[in-house]
């Protein structure tokens, strides 16, 4: 079994139900995110478009975070999920340096590394990840990549415009996007000016390492 995720970006409407359900399900502290939805505005009026991009851990088959973790706090589960052991973590933040997708954070409450686990605790008892359940448009498609009859496998077979983030790094992500674009998936393809925008303040956090 190899569990994977696919987001059909043409279905995502940026409602954030997935992000909110993820926070509620996993007790994610206010200033941290396992799953977030980024808005990118493209073009100049009247030719404009807004991209909504849900971003979470890619559960790579060749995960740099698992490789660099000095104590195996980040480890593979038999179903392919890259899981975190909070009690094992020493908080060196090497995983944050290694992850090319910015999917890992240091939890300010536990002081340990944390990230999306595809809701491993729910999968263990036969439930779907919280974000899949909450999505009103079924943009999140989750399932076994090894099962040709699973919805995600069929989706991958039927669509030619399947993309992953940063394929050149050979991390082999098991998180796919359909009907995406470079603007949506490449962080350097859009500007990220700091300051207040239409919705919120876009900013970087101050130095979070050291004490």
């Amino acid at each position: 079994m190899r569990l994977g995720f696919l987001v059909d970006l043409s279905r995502c409407m940026g409602c954030m139900a997935c992000a909110v359900s993820c926070k509620a399900e996993n007790n994610v502290p206010l200033e941290s995110w396992r799953l977030r939805v980024k808005y990118i505005d493209q073009g100049e009026f009247p030719e404009t478009k807004r991209h909504y991009v849900p971003l979470r851990c890619n559960h790579c088959e060749n995960a740099p975070c698992e490789r660099i973790c000095p104590v195996s706090a980040l480890h593979y589960l038999p179903n392919g999920i890259v899981n975190v052991d909070h009690d094992r973590c020493i908080g060196c933040a090497s995983c944050m340096m290694a992850c090319p997708y910015n999917a890992i954070y240091i939890d300010p409450v536990t002081n340990s590394a944390d990230k999306c686990t595809y809701c491993a605790h729910r999968i263990e008892v036969g439930l779907m990840p919280a974000c899949v359940v909450a999505c009103p448009t079924h943009a999140n498609i989750f399932g076994d990549l090894d099962d040709p009859e699973s919805e995600i496998s069929k989706y991958l077979q039927e669509h030619r415009d399947v993309m992953v983030r940063k394929p050149e790094l050979n991390t082999k992500p098991k998180h796919f996007y359909v009907r995406g674009s470079d603007v949506a998936l490449d962080p350097l393809a859009s500007e990220r000016p700091e300051g207040f925008t239409l919705f919120t303040e876009v900013k970087f956090l101050e130095h979070i390492g050291g004490h």
Binding site: G14, E31, W33, R36, V37, K38, Y39, I40, D41, Q42, G43, E47, K49, H51, P64, R67, I68, C69, P70, V71, S72, R88, C89, I90, G91, C92, A93, S94, M96, M97, A98, C99, P100, Y101, N102, A103, N111, S112, R165, L169, P187, L188, A189, S190, E191, R192, P193, L198, F199, T200, E201, V202, F204, L205, E206, H207, I208, G209, G210, H211
Partner: protein
């Protein structure tokens, strides 16, 4: 369609590895550099090696101690550092580094005991394992940076050579400072130390400039990192480091060696150590200044 702009997003982490990690790399350069350079002079001038038999373990232990202290302070779980030995994950350069440095500390302690007791044979028997452990203690950080897949510029193969040259630069500078303050080095050794510092600074400067030029061809991400380092918010650290670590020492140490005015070498060595910290810090934080997602 024209340009694109992020209009809604959460706050992203920027600098995660900061000055504690820069200090780790800087202090480790001094410690292992003191080992390499000290060993070279002990072997080359066996009749005149008392200075190096004393200062090799002292400099080595003090600065590897600083390295270990800042490493532990940088952990978010300082009191769990022992897990790296109990639950060692050997695909990680962090783990390999922890084990290698532990062995290196043992060698330094033996070298210290050798100096305290005057039993030269203790150290002489540990020269080869000591060299191997000092070598790998120097370069394992390049392994950590290489495994940091997300951070362009850190992942370049030249990083390993850069670490070795940083060690010879820092080691020769440290010996010049100690030797000139205590006045216990003869002119021949001071001159040779000056040339090692001069050569290391020249080669290291060429490597940094080379990486700056060639990194642009690597990827769009690397080009952006170079832009931040050369012209952006990190530029004062980087160019300040280039000036203090390489240009000032080369001029002052060059004058000192040729004109036999070694007080210039003292200033040049101090400048080299300050500059080395600055340039390591710039190299560390520049790739962390870009959004990864």
């Amino acid at each position: 369609m024209l340009g694109a702009e992020v209009t809604f997003d959460v706050a992203l982490p920027k600098v995660v590895w900061g000055w504690l990690v820069s200090t780790n790399m800087w202090a480790k350069s001094i410690s292992t550099g003191a080992f390499f350079i000290g060993l070279y002079f002990i072997k080359k001038y066996p009749d005149n090696d008392a200075f190096f038999r004393k200062w090799l373990p002292l400099l080595g232990l003090v600065f590897i101690g600083i390295t270990l202290l800042v490493t532990i302070l940088d952990l978010h779980h300082e009191f769990r550092f022992w897990k790296i030995f109990l639950f060692a994950h050997f695909t990680s350069a962090v783990t390999i580094g922890a084990w290698v440095v532990s062995g290196y500390v043992l060698i330094l302690l033996a070298a210290f005991w050798s100096w305290v007791t005057g039993n030269r044979k203790i150290f002489d028997r540990l020269v080869i394992p000591g060299f191997i452990l000092a070598f790998f203690s120097t370069i394992y950080t390049a392994g950590i940076l290489a495994q940091s897949t997300a951070r362009e510029v850190w992942t370049f193969p030249a990083e390993m050579i850069s670490m070795l040259l940083s060690a010879t630069l820092a080691g020769s500078a440290a010996y010049l400072i100690v030797g000139l303050i205590y006045g216990s080095l003869n002119e021949k050794i001071k001159k040779e130390l000056s040339y090692i510092l001069f050569g290391s600074a020249g080669l290291l400067a060429a490597m940094f400039i080379g990486e700056l030029v060639f990194a642009k061809m690597h990827s769009e991400y690397a080009e952006k990192v170079v832009e931040i380092m050369a012209f952006g918010e990190v530029a004062p650290w980087f160019w300040g480091g280039m000036f203090l670590a390489f240009i000032v020492p080369m001029v002052l140490v060059g004058i000192a060696a040729e004109k036999k005015k070694f007080e210039y070498a003292l200033l040049g060595s101090l400048s080299a150590l300050v500059g080395l910290w600055l340039i390591k810090h710039a190299w560390l934080i520049a790739p962390q200044s870009l959004p990864l997602s």
